[in-house]
Amino acid sequence: MKLYELESKEIAARYGIPTPRGRVATNPQEASRVARELGPVVLKAQVLVGGRGLAGGVKIAGKPDEAYSIAKRLFSSSIRGEKVEKLLVEEKVGISRELYLSLTVDRATRRPVYLVSEIGGIEIEELAKKHPEKIHKIYVDPGVGYTDYMAREVLQTLKLAWTFLQDIVNITRAMYRIMTDYDAELVEFNPLALTNDNRLVALDAKIIIDDNSLYRHPELQKLRGRELSEYEKRARELEFSYVELDGDIGVICNGAGSTMATMDSILYYGGRPANFLDIGGGARSERIKEAVRLMLMHPRSRVLLINVFGGITRCDEVAMGIIEAIREVGARKPIIVRMLGTNEEEGRRILRERGIEIYDEMDDAVKAAVELAKG
């Protein structure tokens, strides 16, 4: 789960990492009041999507009335589809250098790793593409944790004077503690700024919490799912794994890999998937019904493709779930079913009685769905 910048900075500040002075504003009046207090300010839209700066979500205001009008505009806009509900209004800091520092988990070595670069302020994606040699990696043994030589390597990579050593030790060590205390997948300061008056300040902060660990953090768990679309929320309430896409063929499968492969096959045969919906293994008819209902009601999809390959999923349960969903909300769109597994014959019989044929092969089912969506 991604935290907002203002939440990430609150945590950073609590761990002694310097951040600019700032306040949250939920309306233009508040924004101008903060500007009156702090002088020239930066107004930053609190959204979770990436590329906020390029999309116009970060603006500078010299005077309070300017802060008011910019805030008004930001509150009535959305950044890459995400509505702006809060602004972080911060003092404008004079910057001499922008640096990059993060701590994440490296899949290859299965260890925490510090990523350090003297080039900050651009997305790490960009940096990794353009200047991979400018990123220094410091791997941490999880049984040992942070140790001070790491901070010295950070200092050296960032080309900072030795006078900053204690600051860097504090920041680097605090990052490791944040990762451990919050079960974070990522703790990122980009940029970490060297100011004109020779201070190190985290100008932007991003913390991502591991979803599997949320049960250990009740205060964060209740925020879970806040970034989801309405459909994603409803699917999550039903405990399905669901992602909204932009096509017109609804997809229901079991297993993440299979669901992705079904989406990809739709693309390969010239169609566009509307969603990712994984019902998991061994679902009974009640859960199948909920999934089918959800997708029959889905506004954008024109066809529903159900592809179930089950070791323990029973085809008669799948068939009954489909029939029950149709009974409750009506056959609002054509349904293509491909399923294999236990009680296949019984499932086939149940669906045939309602005029639904079962496909044996995934390719044939996908092609049929793509044809129907076109017509």
Partner: protein, 295 residues
Amino acid sequence: MISMGILVNSSTKVLVQGITGREGSFHTKLMLEYGTKVVAGTSPGKGGSYVHGVPVYDTVYEAVREQGPIDASIIFVPARLASDAVYEAVDHWLRVVVVITEGIPLHDEVKFVNYARSRGVDVVGPNTPGVMTVGECKLGIMPAQVFARGYVGLVSRSGTLTYEIARELGKRGYGISTVVGLGGDPVTGLDFIDVYERFFKDSETKAVVLIGEIGGDAEERFARYYTNLGPRKPVVAYVAGKAASPGKRMGHAGAIISMGVGDYTSKRAGLESAGIPVADTPSQVPDLLEKVLGK
């Protein structure tokens, strides 16, 4: 019969941790039916009972003391208790530990995976369907009937998709030596390189099918490793997630494109430039295999 395949075979003695739970008990039955030598189970507080004829112990210590050395463990305990179960197995010298459990905290996984590797123990998973040497030993939850015995090694980050591709292979007469599910989490015990190395040494395995998915760089790392090999066995691949959207977790915790890493294009390009053909659909995998095997 001479044992072939990798990681597990007909002589592997197996422990089931969490044997009295719903999943643990159900899959113990299926593993026994398959012929797996399940010699013991554990479930703290339930020692002294039996599950499908398998003796249950309170601790792994007791299981090993009563049964003698045990080779492998399969873990069905809930996410909050799974790490502890891994340490218990590793500390009692089990050599292969399969972690079926989904939803284990990332930093717990980082710790036990590193610990197990430092002790030379193979962790399969977490969040895996398991490992099976066809006709010999099933240490997992995969539907056995889909896998016929043969000379193709199967290694995958996915579950159901592996069954789908095994079925496609079977339709065309290709059987499987061993199937290994690496697991769907960002950090796993074994990766593609580890498993390929075993397949390379296994005289029964002639070719390897690699099933990847978006997220991370395991496929790219394998491609770089494979490019630099001397003698090598042919590999063909399928990668799921071309239609996925960046920043969204596609079911598996590990299937997410983040910080510019893990997209489909990079994986496909990496594999192809290493001389590994990549199928567009699961049904094309046997065609590619036919080509690399020169039939």
